[in-house]
Subunit: 460 residues, 2 copies
């Protein structure tokens, strides 16, 4: 039997040889504008992934969750009966504001050692880099070292993984595995590889202020009748003030502070202050003027947030228009920490606004996702960390919690499976923002890491 | 020489006979979408008006104010050397939100006794109804009873009448007259004819919040870096709270309360409470819960306002997007009462925001117009009121101040001319809003009123 070192060397060589072809396949997938505004493109992306998996000898099952895009579940048996499950999604964020992109968001464009496209990092690059790992394993070993499953959904971006949720509810058996690799992963500032062990939850609400049946002239109504934009502004200001404390009663009731082990892991992480400054370049500094490294690490992930994702009212075109808006709306996302419950948030906001007199503002529940938290010392986590050792130049750090949200709670808290991360993300990847991009070197490393994980699972 | 009664009867008959042809001419003008987003349509509207005036024997001069659409000044000498000046504008408000219109805004549509189109009431209907008055005078008398001048500009809507301002600066002599008729006029609730004797001023500012070079993912930055939408919300809430008091220091310093004569005139006006309720249908009632008639009359016109005309931030499309906006903006118009100065407002707001710590918010001055106030007992005003007597079923009331803004200060306070109003407006005309419309009966009355004013000036 091959030694791991020999196998790794052969895997690395095949990945290198197949790199350009793999990037071409990724480019083809990124040219499909699979946003939720474009159902036909979502179907096209699903067909693309279906074909890509079938071509690699996977048995593909299509789960139809009804009103959501299909979820693909693919399986190819391997040498050992242990199973590695890879989770990804083929839907992408909207590209707005399109005018801030350097190249068109759905025309993948290589500049230097990066490729720019909407969805190339979140999450198409992760998916196709895993195809590359599978191809290399098959090239080198003639078979997969363990059974590999893919679950690829189309409801991750702004749809709260409704497709995956329905699948977990209806066919939990399709997803049985000994370890799950998450949709993302990668390096932090200074290219330090990171192992992410938790995600915040999210509750998304829409506030709709309606003060009159229709807009009126601001000269006529301005000192007579309520302006929906003002009502919305005051309602929002009642939810959070400049001290960043969320004023909705009950909002913090279920918040569990980080454990001593969480804080120990945070303290071990490389410093973040300068990297964050470079990444965000905030005009007036960080929130509340914080400039302490550990405090920045803590607040970035172990605090819940109330974020205005969008504001709309009245006239937004060029020049001036003297209108008094009868309607205004705000999109708000609340990031949640263990063990806040997303389903409770809209009702808390509703009660708060009513108590503050904002009975003219409707709170619409746009769905949510609970927070997720893995045991940071689970054996599968340790295997994934060990597999990273000779791929990256630096040791992999365990990150107890991440700021973003993902459907991992379905695997960890509903199915009881261990989940770890491996991927190509980096702080400059601009996911959910203009000029989203992928670093080609990290793409290659992600494929090498995933191939090693499968191999090492086969050795246990 | 004809008696006034005989002349009025002949004028009324000609106006009735010419009504449909005049409405057809108005329809042609309303089909030109002369918003400031469409410079070609503005030029087209100017040419239309030019031809209409020339066809009626007016000598037309075109004043080019540089960056603004042309101002047309037309004159046709009359029997007497006294001069009546008619002011109008050919530009219109943007039609947004277009989807709330029952019929397309630039396809004039007759439904019952109304015609719907953007700009048909503000201000194209007023202009063409005055052509109709001129036509009738020429038909009946063979000449005009006094010299009539038209001044028609294209910079009234959201452009602070820059064209007219430049003309007043450069050629005040072109505008000499013995009386000016305003761009608007008409009836209030219950079809009571009203004589408007003042307009509030306006100062328009744009607030631009910029917290970072670019948007970031709300899961990544939400508890770390400032959100421009939140900054804007808090800045706005610092400008005005739910008590409607404007908190910008110095804002009220130059406010002069209404005179005893102003309050007397307000008290004489018909009650407004029920009409306002029908007109606005405010979900939570009037501002500050006011339901006293005289107080509603007073606050509607003798208080300055801070109105949010538009709010823009982040993602405004369908569904959800988890973005933390780096940029947000608000359009604000402040209505000003005598003798607030529009040019001072942006700087007051700027100083206030700086003092409140909002140094990340830029205040852009989008221009303004001073308030205007006529002597309510000027002889020209009394002539116009008298001329209305047998046109409308009810006596004309003097309204000491109106909520809206207009360039009348240029005539009253720069050129020292008396200004009065005569027109076809009514409370349901929806100017600056979807389904703007004109009542055909009031169109006819406006023409009859203007024809009488010219005739009566010729008798003095």
């Amino acid at each position: 039997m091959d030694t791991s070192t020999t196998v790794f060397s052969a895997l690395d060589q095949r990945i290198r040889e197949r790199l350009e072809a793999s990037l071409a396949e990724l480019g083809d997938l990124c040219r499909i504008p699979s946003t939720h505004a474009n159902p036909e493109a979502l179907r096209q992306a699903a067909r693309f992934v279906h074909r890509a998996l079938a071509r690699r000898g996977f048995q593909v099952r299509v789960f139809d969750p009804g009103h959501e895009p299909p979820v693909l579940v693919a399986e190819r048996p391997g040498r050992r009966s242990r199973t590695l499950l890879l989770y990804n999604h083929y839907d992408v964020q909207p590209p707005d504001p399109v005018e801030l992109w350097t190249s068109p968001p759905f025309e993948p464009t290589r500049r230097g050692d990066k490729i720019y496209a909407r969805g190339i990092s979140d999450d198409k690059g992760h998916l196709v880099s895993r195809f590359l790992a599978v191809d290399a394993l098959l090239d080198v070993l003639g078979e997969l070292p363990v059974t590999v499953k893919f679950v690829v959904e189309g409801s991750e971006e702004g749809r709260h993984s409704e497709g995956l949720r329905a699948l977990v509810e209806r066919h939990p058996d399709w997803l049985q595995a000994d370890g799950v690799l998450w949709e993302f992963g990668g390096v932090g500032p200074d290219d330090i590889p990171l192992q992410y062990l938790g995600t915040r939850g999210i509750a998304y609400v829409l506030l709709r202020a309606r003060t009159m049946p229709r807009d009126v002239h601001s000269g006529v109504g301005g000192t007579l009748v309520p302006n929906a934009a003002w009502r919305l502004v005051w309602a929002l200001a009642s939810i959070k003030g400049p001290d960043e404390r969320i004023r909705v009663p009950g909002f913090y009731d279920r918040v569990q502070p980080p454990s001593p082990r969480d804080l120990e892991l945070l303290a071990q992480l490389p410093p973040v202050l300068e990297a964050y400054q470079r990444q965000f370049q905030p005009v007036l500094g960080f929130l509340r003027g914080v400039d302490d490294d550990l405090e920045l690490k803590r607040m970035a992930v172990f605090e819940p947030s109330a974020n205005i994702a969008g504001l709309t009212a009245g006239y937004q075109g060029p020049g001036t228009k003297t209108v008094l808006p009868a309607y205004a709306e705000a999109k708000l996302d609340f990031r949640l920490v263990p063990w806040q419950r997303p389903e409770e948030i809209p009702e808390l906001v509703r009660r708060h606004l009513t108590a503050q007199g904002f009975t003219d503002i409707e709170v619409v529940d746009l769905g949510g996702t609970p927070p997720m938290k893995m045991d940071p010392d689970h054996p599968f986590v340790d295997l994934v960390v060990a597999a990273a050792r000779d791929v990256y130049d630096k040791p992999m750090y365990k990150v107890p919690m991440r700021g973003v949200t993902g459907p991992g709670y379905l695997f960890v808290h509903r199915l009881g499976l261990p989940v770890a991360t491996a991927g190509l993300g980096y702080p400059g990847s601009n996911i959910h923002a203009p000029d989203e991009n992928l670093r080609i070197d990290l793409y290659e490393k992600a494929a090498r890491h995933v191939a090693r994980i499968a191999w090492m699972m086969g050795q246990t």
